[in-house]
């Protein structure tokens, strides 16, 4: 039985704005799912709809097999970790954590046991009697997490919980959340617009755009086999080039004729390749899938050097290459080869 199942969710706000369209999402128990997408794509809206703060305009939500579509937040077995933490400023750390269980009428002994173990797990035993405004950002974040977990909810919902922390703390708390999740085994839906956070933490990533889900998959799948131009571009860097199908895996592109290992699907409209998937070759080498151009711009990045290369077709814009080791200078003519199995086909963003 799925921990959470949302079917055909859409959300139209009072002002007529459609923030979500036909969202289908099934999350298995113990899974860590990340909602990833640009600002304004509806991540918070989806999370609040799942939590019950917004009524879904259409669709159905099940939590632990029960239909909760019409239930208010206080009746749903979810707990939310807010971006602003939303700790109760008048309650101590321990009282904050204890709030939910007390509300739910959990017996006292059980409440105490939960409190003690959570305080230990989030390493806040020394701060149990402090008010939230006396805590550092990372500590407040951990209180918010412990408060959500104290409910023993079927699903924990995180809305960009780390965005108020500095880079280093972020990294640390991120690891702590993941470790805790593995230890306790709660189901998590985690909103972020930081792609590296999404790739690093998740069992599965849900990429959203304009209120729709573009692609769902394991981080490796999402990165290695993007299905849309949007996903390819949003996760990592990608070169996208339109093509014409010549049949048999051969395509005609503004870069010249190329051969791909797998033929394109019917609705594909771009070829896509990652900047690091190329191999520089001798300028004179005549071989399959070799593209020539002039280096226009060059940025040293440490592990690799990023080249922006102008190819014959000026309208196409510059192609991005990542080259390890010695890289050609600006203005140099280069030739590079794309492996046939590095060429992928993607749908256009809006398809």
């Amino acid at each position: 039985m799925a921990s959470l199942a949302a079917k055909g969710i859409s959300k139209v706000f009072e002002d007529g704005f459609q923030a979500l369209t036909d969202i289908d999402l099934v999350v298995e128990p113990g899974e860590f799912v990340t909602l990833l997408g640009p600002s304004g794509c509806g991540k918070t809206t989806l999370l609040k709809t799942l939590a019950g703060f917004y009524d879904a305009t259409t669709g159905r939500i099940e939590i632990g097999g029960t239909d909760v579509t019409a239930a208010p937040p206080e009746k749903r077995d979810t707990a939310m970790c807010f971006q602003s933490y939303a700790l109760f400023p008048h309650l101590t750390v321990a009282e904050n954590i204890d709030f939910g269980p007390r509300q739910a009428g959990v017996p006292k002994a059980e409440r105490r046991a939960r409190l003690e173990s959570l305080l230990r797990q989030v390493d806040l035993e020394a701060h149990r009697d402090k008010l939230p405004n006396r805590l550092s950002g990372g500590q407040q974040q951990r209180v918010a997490l412990a408060r959500a977990l104290a409910m023993r909810p079927a699903v924990v919902l995180f809305d960009e919980p780390l965005s108020n922390l500095d880079a280093k703390l972020r990294e640390q708390v991120r690891r702590e959340i993941r470790a805790l999740q593995k230890e306790i085994g709660f189901t998590a839906i985690y909103v972020t617009h930081d792609q590296s956070e999404a790739l690093a933490m998740s069992d599965r990533v849900v990429v959203m755009q304009g209120g729709r889900i573009d692609q769902v998959g394991r981080p490796e799948e999402i990165y290695a086999r993007p299905e849309t131009a949007f996903v390819a571009d949003f996760i990592g860097a990608a070169n996208l080039v339109p093509f014409e199908d010549l049949g048999g895996g051969r395509v005609k592109t503004p870069l010249g004729e190329l051969r791909a290992a797998v033929p394109p699907a019917g609705n594909a409209s771009f070829i896509c390749w990652r900047p690091e998937d190329v191999e520089l070759v001798e300028a004179g080498a005549a071989s399959e899938n070799v593209i020539r151009g002039v280096v226009r711009d060059r940025a040293y990045q440490g592990a690799h050097t990023e080249l922006h290369v102008a190819t014959g077709d000026a309208d196409l814009g510059l192609q991005r290459l990542h080259v390890a080791g010695a890289a050609p200078a600006e203005g140099a003519e280069v030739a590079f080869r794309l492996g046939a199995d590095q060429i992928r086909f993607v749908r256009s963003a809006l398809a």
Partner: protein, 293 residues
């Protein structure tokens, strides 16, 4: 008749439920509240207006719902035969003077609260509220004893002094907010760009201070116009203000239409000033958010 659903296009995805719920709860509450407000405000004020316009030649008695004849005769009569013109003059000379005096007295203290940190500042700020927590008539009576023993005989000066002290808490509070809204980065930027002190005041201080100054002037003005305890205890019977006149009409010589006239004379300028103040406070908001950001 064919049922509508047969012909209407099926629209299963309309967000019906929330719209309906909004209608029942919120709109009904608003409707009820508006009704209460009508009873709360429109009925009492409507009655006062009708009474003030009641023609002296007729009587408005049960069971007439509306007065039989209306005219401005009462207004003219009150104006010509009572001390209302003098009271108006007194009140409208006193109140602006009080407003300006209070502003001048309040500004240095407000500046200190907004721009300096010193030990005991919290306590000092609480102490400025003292005039608000002394019951008005206690203050009025023993203030009159004080000026009597000091030998101050000018009623005007006495009331001016008492009103200034009474309303200082409002002015200090408003001006403290105004002074803390002055953006020091703007002051520095102006200096950096070589602005003269006057130019600095104009670009950095005045925009933040102006709403506070105006709000303080208006609030103290309104309060002074309607203040009754001091004006009555210290001023009566030589120095009449509008509230003292109204009091006499409500007490020993109760004349309903005259009381209605004086009530309206007292309350109408208030309403106009309040509308101005509301607008002012709204326009002051950008300045405040500018400081936070």
């Amino acid at each position: 008749m064919v049922s509508l659903s047969d012909t209407a296009p099926v629209a299963p995805r309309r967000p019906r439920r929330p719209a309906f719920r909004r209608f029942t709860i919120s709109n009904m509450l608003i409707a009820i509240l508006l009704l209460v407000c009508v009873i709360w405000l429109v009925v009492p004020f409507g009655m006062a207006v009708l009474w003030s316009l009641l023609d002296p030649s007729v009587r408005w008695e049960y069971p007439d719902v509306l007065p039989p004849a209306l005219s401005f005769a009462r207004w003219i009569e009150v104006w010509n035969t009572t001390s209302l013109p003098m009271a108006l003059r007194n009140s409208y000379i006193l109140a602006p003077t009080v407003a300006v005096t209070t502003l001048i007295l309040a500004s240095p203290t407000a500046y200190a609260f907004a721009r300096h940190d010193f030990p005991g500042k919290g306590a000092a700020q609480v102490l400025t509220l003292l005039p608000l927590v002394i019951p008005g008539f206690v203050l009025a009576i023993f203030f009159s004893a004080l000026i009597f023993s000091l030998g101050i005989y000018s009623r005007f000066l006495s009331i001016l002094l008492a009103h200034s002290v009474l309303f200082l808490p409002y002015a200090i509070r408003l001006m403290t907010v105004a002074f803390s809204n002055v953006r020091l980065d703007l002051v520095d930027a102006a200096r950096d760009l070589g602005a003269s002190p006057w130019a600095r005041f104009r670009v950095a201080y005045w925009p933040a201070l102006a709403p506070g100054i105006l709000a303080s002037l208006i609030i103290v003005f309104i309060q002074s116009i309607e203040e009754f305890a001091v004006a009555f205890v210290v001023g009566a019977p030589n120095f009449t203000t509008i509230p003292s006149i109204l009091y006499s009409y409500l007490g020993y010589n109760f004349v309903r239409p005259n009381a209605a006239v004086v009530s309206l004379v007292l309350v109408i300028p208030n309403v106009l000033l309040m509308l101005g103040l509301e607008r002012l406070l709204k326009s002051a908001n950008p300045a405040q958010t500018g400081v936070k950001g």
